[in-house]
């Protein structure tokens, strides 16, 4: 109980701190007390695909959370996780750090919020649903925030992929299938020397 109370206290305090509630892509944010949580990967299964950004632990958390939140079959998890891993590689460092912390908090929040002895990735699918719904419906704003961010990350991992579009009857971009060209001519940028010749300070 004391751990839970401490964590909730930290959460409340952090809510008032200015640096905490920043987002990157569509709301990827986190709770700073996640920095206190373990980050090792020793108990996570090896992954067949090479990861560019996520650790094995983070990959496990994000794939399991994504399939539960979006109501997808478990086998879609690897594909979603791989897509998120590739996308996060190109994101700004602040967003990357937020994503890491958020996933860490989610993995270990079971102990604090639901008093469960198991981490998120060790819960049964039914238990995971209860746990994630707890974040979605929480009376604590910060937990709803994390759920929003996680849902955005999951949506990005699945619905950005053309393989998902058929399932929702989205016909996809025009580019590559409808041949229309712009007639507007954008000017080409000029080298620094050209700017200096005109505006360079003497």
């Amino acid at each position: 109980m004391r751990d839970r109370a401490t964590a909730l206290g930290a959460l409340q305090v952090d809510l008032t701190r200015r640096q905490l509630l920043r987002t990157g892509f569509g709301g990827v944010l986190l709770l700073s007390f996640g920095t206190l949580l373990p980050s090792g990967c020793a108990r996570y299964l090896p992954i067949a695909r090479p990861l560019k950004f996520l650790s094995r632990k983070e990959f496990a958390v994000v794939t399991q959370a994504a399939v539960r939140i979006l109501g997808l079959p478990d086998e879609r998890g690897d594909e979603i996780g791989g897509f998120i891993d590739a996308l996060l590689t190109d994101f700004p460092p602040t967003t990357q750090n937020q994503a890491r912390l958020m996933l860490r908090v989610l993995e270990h929040g079971t102990h604090f919020f639901d008093l469960k002895p198991k981490r998120f990735t060790r819960l049964s699918p039914a238990e995971q649903d209860v746990y994630l719904r707890g974040w979605m419906e929480s009376s604590l704003g910060a937990r709803r925030i994390v759920f929003r961010a996680l849902k955005t990350l999951a949506a990005l991992g699945y619905y950005a992929q053309p393989s998902a579009w058929d399932t929702i009857s989205y016909d996809g971009p025009w580019i590559g299938r409808i041949d229309v060209a712009s007639e507007f001519v954008h000017e080409d940028p000029v080298p620094l020397a050209a700017v200096m010749a005109r505006f360079g300070r003497r």
């Binding site: 987002t23 109501g71 929003r148 949506a155 200096m196 300070r201």
Partner: protein
């Protein structure tokens, strides 16, 4: 000309008559007006020079490339997401092209309550007409109303609600629907295809990928801007120094006050970063019996202004109902629900429509500043605005049912459905709480507000800072209250006025 920042390989020092910070609806207008008046102009833009060929119609690629902070900036407590474009042309490039004139009552309120005699409708009209001509403003035709907009039109007409086909600045629109991801086909009259190239043609230089860090002053007068390149040939962030006789701050209502504070400019009235209005937006979704593929066509083809009640004394209150929709990633993020329910909702994607509520807010937020990070947006919706939003959700639901909706989905985290017309108790019971529903703001305003009294405002009616000579502000920061409608035309009109004031008083500013 537009600088290719991939060729920057050293510190850069430039000199010009005018340095403009920002290339969006305010900055691009000022740059063009002053360049065409014969002034040498340097424009600094934090974002990149992204041309239509780069608008690839894919959400996961476009959002990080052209929006600030990869998509959205959250307010403290995550109550509102603030979406701002970050590229040459600013938010006009991924914008929805709605061109609504600033309402007479709002301008009259500003003139009367903020001691701004030149801000009335008649005084601004010539500038407004000039802007409309430059960006090709025209009315959306009935043929251009897509099925989602058609639902709002039909439903509101059934109920007798006042509405209209709005004006927009597209030409030869192909109805691809990808406005929010930048127009691949250059059919928008955004800054990227109008004012920026015109400014360049008139001799201005646009410097993309360059963060303005500090406005430099001397003896109470702005004399230039120090910046830092985000990109270069070597990867080093080289410094840029621009010395100019006039500085125009047009980086938007979040970043302009940030730059002000970072520059340690005087703020005797303690007004910088205060008075923030967000015109928060939330969407009510509806399921129709037939496919309406709401992602295609002009996204916002009809406007209901029945509930916008404006008056000169208090600026009034209320909201607009405007069609809205999102591509799959954004839709999946904002549609309510969890697991199988959410999945089922997404499979209904082609039959979903949505009505956006744009609130004319009275809530006054503020920005909190720190030296090493973007400002934090602090904004808690006030009780009157909350009541307005509850009423608006009822009206949006009512219109949806009148247009034939089978069900309405409210914008909460979990699925709250209304199954029949009139059963709106759930809206009243649930009400509004922090980040549920989650609001989005595309139009922050008011953080460097204008006014005749230096003790209650930051800039005067011409946009010039009360406390710093030769420093002007030309973006939505200067609005004294919410402008009540999409602000593009208001920003451009006021920016034109500011530029013409500088031109008319050239002897004073350029000696």
């Amino acid at each position: 000309m537009i600088l290719d920042t991939a060729t920057v390989d050293s510190n850069v020092a430039l000199e010009s008559d005018v340095c403009v910070i920002g290339s969006g609806a305010g900055g691009a207008v000022v740059a063009r007006e002053l360049a065409e008046a014969g002034r040498s102009v340097v424009v600094l833009e934090d974002g990149s020079y992204v041309r239509s060929g780069d608008f690839v119609q894919r959400e996961e690629i476009i959002y990080p490339r052209i929006y600030r902070e990869s998509g959205t900036t959250a307010s403290a407590e995550y109550a509102v997401l603030v979406s701002q474009g970050r590229l040459v042309g600013g938010s006009t490039v991924p914008g929805f092209c709605l061109c609504v004139r600033p309402p007479r009552a709002i301008l009259a309120h500003w003139a009367r309550s903020f001691d701004l005699p030149g801000i009335g409708y008649e005084g601004l009209y010539p500038h407004l007409r000039k802007v409309e001509k430059q960006i090709g403003v025209r009315r959306i035709t009935p043929e251009q109303v897509n099925p989602n907009s058609g639902k709002l039109l039909f439903g509101s007409e059934q109920l007798g609600y006042r509405g209209y086909l709005p004006f927009h600045n597209r030409s030869g629109c192909l109805d691809s629907g990808y406005c929010a991801l930048g127009c691949t086909y250059d059919r928008k009259g955004d800054m990227l295809t109008t004012y920026v190239p015109a400014a360049s043609k008139a001799g201005a230089v646009v410097v993309p990928d360059c963060e303005a860090r500090q406005i430099v002053t001397q003896n109470g007068r702005a004399i230039g801007v120090d910046g830092l390149f985000n990109r270069s040939r070597t990867g080093t962030r080289y410094p840029l120094k621009v010395r100019a006789k006039v500085v125009v701050l047009a980086a938007g209502a979040i970043n302009s006050p940030r730059i002000w504070r970072a520059s340690r400019l005087p703020d005797p009235a303690d007004e910088v970063g205060r008075n923030l209005r967000l015109q928060p937006h939330v969407a009510v979704s509806a399921l129709y019996p037939e496919s309406i593929t709401a992602w295609r066509g002009i996204p916002q083809g009809y406007v209901v202004d029945e509930f916008l009640r404006l008056d000169e004394r208090s600026a009034g209150h209320g909201y607009l109902l405007i069609p809205t929709f999102a591509f799959p990633v954004a839709a999946a993020s904002v549609l309510p629900g969890y697991g199988a329910q959410h999945r089922e909702l997404m499979t209904l994607y082609p039959r979903l429509g949505a009505i956006g509520i744009f609130l004319h807010d009275h809530t006054r937020g503020r920005l909190e500043f720190s030296d090493d990070a973007p400002p934090t947006v602090v904004y808690r919706l006030g009780s009157m605005d909350s009541e307005q939003l509850v009423e608006a959700m009822v009206h949006a639901s009512e219109v949806s049912f009148a247009a034939g909706a089978e069900k309405v989905f409210l914008p909460y985290n979990d699925i709250v459905t209304i199954g029949r017309r009139g059963a709106y108790q759930a809206i009243h019971e649930r009400g509004i709480r922090a980040n549920d529903p989650l609001f989005i703001s595309y139009q922050p305003q008011g953080t460097l507000r204008m006014g005749g009294n230096p003790r209650q405002s930051v800039v005067d009616g011409a946009g010039e800072a009360h406390a710093v000579r030769n420093l002007f502000v030309a973006d939505a920061s200067v609005f004294p209250t919410s402008v009540a409608v999409p602000p593009q035309l208001a920003v451009m009109t006021l920016a034109t006025r500011t530029a013409q004031h500088i031109v008319a008083n050239a002897e004073q500013y350029f000696r």
